[in-house]
Structures are given as C-alpha cells and as structure tokens.
Amino acid sequence: MSKLPEELLDLLKDTGSVKVVATIDGDGVPHVVFKGSLTTFDDETIVFAEGVESSLSNKNLVRSIWFDKKVAINITKGLISYQIKGFPYKYLITGTIFRQMLDRARERRGPEADIAGVWVIAPDEIRNESPAWRSALAKEERGLFHSHLDLWR
C-alpha cells in the first residue's frame, strides 16, 4: 500500500473535518453515516470505530469484507474534499489500535463511551473532490462546454 497524499493526511488527522462513510446492503442500497472517529495511524490505511455490532453500517461492512465489496469515504473541510474508495481489510476487536480508538472515543464523548470494533479500510482509489480542483480539471479537459457564458464576458 502506498502513502496517502499529504493534503488528505491533514484532513484525516483534523478533528474538525467532516467524515462520511458510505456502504451498500445486500440489495445494493446505499447507506451513509458520519464517522467522527475516522483517521489514519500508518498514513496508508483508514480506520474508524464502530459503535454497535448490529448497526446497518456495520452489517454492510461485514458483508463487504466477506464478499469483496467496496465502501466509499468522503472527507471535507472548507473547500478541500477527498473521496476514497476501498475495501474493508480488517475488523479489530482487540489489540493496540482498538485500544487507541476506545481511548479516543472516551476522551471525546466521556468515560461511558464504548465501541464494538474498529474497521481498517485499504484504499483502492483516491479522488480529489475539492470544487476548485475538479472545476479546473473539467475546464482543462472540455473547458468550452462546461461553464456559463456570463463567465466568458
């Protein structure tokens, strides 16, 4: 696995970023949740805590790790935004990273906070979704046909 881009790493480690995880159920229906715990420890994989085993998101993630389905993650702060598509690689129910994530949950949400496990996602595709970056890219590729004429005056 290769190192994630610096700009994305900054977003991942920033507790002020908005972090969203999208999964699909057995019929392909999407399900989206915010994951404030989402971060990286090794600069290569993405981790986030799961609160309860029975959540729809968790069942979708179990299905994904069992049957090689991808999940999508979006991280945004201000005008910087990234999307990562990847495969659930591990579900941790004990060990060092599990403990670190539990400690963080209790720091953030109080001593009664609990987690069921920690998902580790192996990125497969990373897209810069920042509006300015995508807009510049679109202009470069087919600029004549993708903007309003008033901007051309």
């Binding site: 790790i65 069992w66 129910i93 403990r99």
Partner: protein, 415 residues
C-alpha cells in the same frame, strides 16, 4: 468408508458463494488443526502475545513456550485452535513473515491472521500468591474461568467420548491433583477479575465452565453451590446486579437453575447436549446418560428458558461426532437431518442449539477417528442459522468475538 467426495476450501468457497471464505476457513482450521513455524513460535512468545504459563490443559504443567490466545482472522472472527504437536495429520501452518502472521496450506499463503494479545493481568498474583494466569484465561473479548478442574464422569469411565478437558492431551486420564489444584478459591477469582477489568475495552463477557461434580444431597447441589459462590465473588466487581456472563454446566433441576439465576448475576446458562440422537447420546455421553439421561438434559434446557428468558439458554453439540465409529451415522444427510431436527425443537422453545467442530484428540476415547468432510460443516451451519433466524434467535452470547468455536454464530453477523 468415505462419507463424501471431499471438497477443499477453494472448491467450497466457489460452491457456497453465500458463505464467506473466512467462516469456511475457520471451520477447516478447527477440523484439521494448526501448526506453527519456528518463526511463529518465537513471535508468539514476545510480550505482546505471550500466553498463560499455566493452564488446566496440557496437564497443567508450566509451559516454557505457552500458546498465545485464539487466532484472529481479518474480519475479526476468533478461532479457538491450538498448535498441539503430534495431534493433527494434515494441519494448516501459521507462518510469520515480514512482521505479519499468515495462514498457509501446503506452502500456499491463504490470508493474513493475528493472535489475541496478552492481557495485562497475566504475570500478576493474587493476595494469596496465586498466579492470576492460572485462574483466568483470555479470549479476544471473553474471560474464561474454570473453578473446578476435574470431571467425575472419568471416575467410572463415563466421560464423554470426545472430551479431552483436564487431560494432558495424550493420556486418557484426568491430570488434576498431579500438577495443579482441583478447586480455585473464589477470592482468587474475585481478585483476578478485578485486575482483568482494569484494562479498558478488553472483555465483554465472563464465561464459567468446569468438570462435572454430581455430588450433593440432591445430585449436583455441591457444584451449584460452588458456582454460586464464584459468581457472587465475580459479581462484587460490578455495580449492576446482572453482568454479561455464561455458565456452561451440566443439566440441573429447575430449582438449581433458579438458585443460579436468583442468587447471582449470571445472564446465560448452557447445558450442553453434545449429540442429539438418542442412541448416540447414550453411547457417547454415558456419564450424562447416568446423570440423568437425554430427556432430563433437554427438559433442563427448556425449563431454564422460563428463568433466563428466550435466547439466553444455549446447548452446544459436537458436530461430527455423529460419525464416530462403530455406532455412527452412515450418511451426511442423516446427520444433517438429526441436527436440524434438534435445532428446530430447541429453537421453537427459545434455546440456541449451537455447533462446534469435533477434534478427535489423542487423549479421548475416539482418538484417531475420521472426521466428516468440510462440506458437512458448511451445510450444517447454513441450515442452523436459517432455523434460528426463523425463530428470532441470535447467538450473540457465543458469537465471533466471544467464543471462537461456532461457525454458525459467525454467520449470524448479517442477520
């Protein structure tokens, strides 16, 4: 006689595309056993993984190279399997390469795996000087305690024919008294649990089991009283009356079960039926047949539902022992029908009928016997899960993170 054309892991993953590879692999890891490379043995002896030096198994002797806690697959599935030498004819190998563990089969790398880390309480002693790692053992999310380490079914050679508990895994004899104490003091258990709970997020259940002791004015009274004392001692560690726990024990009378429920914080009871078929039960579990037979064991489980509630009573069976010779079933269909009948009967009465994989350990009466093919286990767990789902039962007391013995409860993660 071959029971079936034996399909391997890859063929079964393709054939049963609705069953995840990790669950089929777990079944086969337990069926065929595991072996460690030297590199794995060394790594599992490092402080992060090192297992307990003293256990009630392997004869209770102090181990120089203790086994680590259960194996962990990538999806979090725990697998209870020990690399006991000279037990398995065709084990999977666990190798350690470039800082990671892998499960391999005949040189082919199948997947990355890990082991349950060593808990903080290992290495500490109670105020009476007893090593805590001889009192309780750690699974990924479960603390196991065995307060009485001798099974009296062995006294009359009526031990369950598949059972290797409290042996050295080589000889057919109980080892307690030679190398370790039979009875653990409740205060040592209280202090060990107290210490174990200092590690945040480490445990979500306490499990008790022991060897059978049928003594008492009413048979089993002495054992029930012992469990009550132990559970009360454990309960002093919690601020709520009831705490997440399971007792795997013999079938008791309704009054005895009620005492366990009313006088302690126990939350789940599990009298193991071991094998459903009437004739096989008599032969394989002759001790249970004597004290007091299959109908009594079934009634005990059903009565316990009135006390502990639907879904809080379990009964395990040793899947595959139906094929033990000479009295065995002769076809896969016969064994599946028998177990599905049992699952249906228990489920409609609120009891979870849960499978675990038979290992013909050398210290058991069935040593060296042939196990059924892997496909039997795949078909079995699929059927069991469907039946329990129909009756609204979940096995979360014995699921992928708590026990490590049940492929069927692993499959329930999507229910």
């Amino acid at each position: 006689m071959k029971l079936n054309n034996e399909l391997g892991l890859d063929a079964l993953v393709e054939k049963y595309s609705d069953v995840p590879k990790s669950v089929i692999l777990k079944l086969d890891l337990q069926r065929r056993g595991i072996a460690f490379t030297d590199a794995t043995t060394e790594e599992t002896y490092t402080p992060y993984y090192r297992g307990p030096a003293q256990t009630a198994f392997s004869g209770g002797t102090k181990l120089e190279r203790p086994f680590p806690g259960p194996l962990l697959l990538r999806d979090g599935t725990s697998v209870l399997a020990s690399p006991v030498k000279n037990q398995f004819s065709d084990p999977y190998t666990i190798d350690f390469v470039d800082g990671k563990f892998y499960v391999t089969d005949k040189g082919k790398r199948l997947d990355e795996v890990d082991f349950t880390p060593r808990p903080d309480f290992y290495g500490k002693v109670t105020s009476r000087g007893v090593p805590m790692e001889s009192i309780a053992w750690s699974r990924p999310q479960r603390l196991d305690i065995i307060p009485y380490r001798y099974c009296h079914y062995w006294d009359t050679k009526d031990q369950c024919k598949f059972c290797a508990f409290f042996t050295d895994l080589k000889q057919q004899k109980q080892a307690a008294g030679d190398n370790y104490e039979k009875i653990i003091h409740p205060e040592d258990i209280y202090e060990t649990v107290q210490e174990a709970l200092k590690e945040p997020g480490r445990y979500s259940q306490i499990n008790l089991t022991a060897g059978t002791d049928y003594s008492g004015e009413v048979p089993f009274d002495k054992e029930v009283t012992r469990y009550i004392e132990v559970l009360q001692a454990i309960g002093r560690n919690f601020r709520t009356r009831r705490f997440p726990s399971q007792l795997i024990a013999p079938a008791y009378t309704k009054q005895q079960v009620k005492r366990l429920h009313d006088e302690t914080g126990l939350s789940s009871y599990c009298p193991d039926i071991e094998v459903w078929d009437k004739e096989l039960f008599k032969w394989i579990c002759s001790g249970k047949e004597k004290w007091f037979g299959r109908d009594y064991w079934i009634k005990s489980a059903l009565d316990a539902v009135e006390i502990f509630g639907k879904g809080n009573v379990y009964t395990n069976f040793v899947a595959g022992v139906e094929f033990a010779k000479p009295q065995s079933f002769t076809s896969i269909e016969q064994a599946l029908d028998s177990n599905f009948e049992a699952c249906e009967y228990f489920a409609k009465n609120g009891v979870v009928y849960l499978s675990l994989v038979w290992t013909p350990w050398k210290s058991t009466a069935l040593a060296g016997q042939e196990q059924p093919p892997l496909e039997y286990y795949v078909r079995l767990i699929k059927g069991l899960v469907e039946i329990r789902k129909h009756y609204g039962l979940a096995s979360d007391n014995d699921d992928f993170k708590h026990c490590g013995n049940h492929g069927d409860s692993d499959l329930e993660r999507l229910n």
